[in-house]
Symmetry: C2
Subunit: 261 residues, 2 copies
Amino acid sequence: MRFLRFKKDGETVYGLLEGAQVYELTGSIFSDYKKTGEIFELEDVELDIPVVPRTFYAAGLNYQTHLEKMSVAVGLDASAPGAPDIGYRANNALTAHNEPVVIPADATDQVHYEGELVVVIGKQGKYLTPETAMDIVFGYTIGNDISERSWQKSDKTMWRSKNTDTFKPMGPWIETDVDLKTMETIVRLNGKEQICFQTNRMITGIVPYLVHMTNYLTLYPGDVIWMGTEGTSPNLLDGDVVEVELTGIGTLRNPVIRQTP
Amino acid sequence: MRFLRFKKDGETVYGLLEGAQVYELTGSIFSDYKKTGEIFELEDVELDIPVVPRTFYAAGLNYQTHLEKMSVAVGLDASAPGAPDIGYRANNALTAHNEPVVIPADATDQVHYEGELVVVIGKQGKYLTPETAMDIVFGYTIGNDISERSWQKSDKTMWRSKNTDTFKPMGPWIETDVDLKTMETIVRLNGKEQICFQTNRMITGIVPYLVHMTNYLTLYPGDVIWMGTEGTSPNLLDGDVVEVELTGIGTLRNPVIRQTP
């Protein structure tokens, strides 16, 4: 099933996508919802981000080639974390499918995409085990972890390099039924394929992450965990269009705008 | 004015504290609210955290002595950030006034308090100036940034050292009218004063923080910014009680429990 959020009369409401039609919902997609009876065509609705996370988690360097390249680019330790480390991103940076990524005028040229699988939590969970971890996963969506590499290197935190407004496109919807074993992540720049990788070939997979995290923290419905990316990106330019496709979910598409001083 | 949240019939509702009486509110404290007519005695209500932040920001090393001590303790660069850096904390870790801080069994002895001023945002703001920055501040509350120093040193991020469940007590309420010039932060352990410092003697003050942050990000109603702490803490033990008083706001009190293996 595909759940999305869209704008209606100045508010954001939930919808269920069936084919090309959006059935408006009331209630919570994580507990109890029903159709209102109103139906819209997907092409007619303006999508919003599919969930506002309670906490916005992000896995660090979680694919081998990306780890090796980034350790050189931003001066990080090239060894993978001994145990899964978890970072945070900020809700201010989230932006919807089709909305522009706006690069500030004082950013360098080194602004990059990172196509990522996003795990959406559906139930409260702590002290999960390998057997129970997947029980709290509601579904999956797509993220693009836009990063300004010079700030990532110079700042003590990623507040600006990764959390500038619009630097976290997420969407277009949450898909509850996927086959992680066969899923591929494909990133296209202006229609041209840049990279294609097996989404599930992570250094630390979803289950070990959930088990390790919930030794210390409680996950709640609506939390999201961005699982990291593979490879590297060319510098994004004003007018570029980035598409991140996750097979079985869909395609997250965002144009790029660079502000002028 | 003092706004708080308390538990009523299994839900959390807003209240306005006048003297020792709590007037239940409906609506949003950030836009439009009114009294429901129901009144409770403060001593009879169970407080919840006074706001669930949309984004939970935290200033880094923002007081001189703390900066110098921490740079030794956790191996950080002793120089203050050239510009205000902003970190993130996680909503899972928030816990209310009087609720216990629960230290996991596998934590070391090096678990410390950090008494902090918390800025609560009331209006949306971007590209703030020194003249407009304070217009978006709704009020202030108190935070205790519990930290496990060995994890802070060993992990790549602060996900566990500072964001373990219950490691972020916040409350007891939001005070809208304070005198930052005269405010003092006093931390007591088991009733005995450990440290007292001028709250506003920060390396980077609230206004420069808001101006710098909003060059890149939008602040929203309900966002909180924890402003950092001064000094150091002894190791917290099972059965300890930590109180953080900010004069003009109140006192945040939390007992400490250590889990056994």
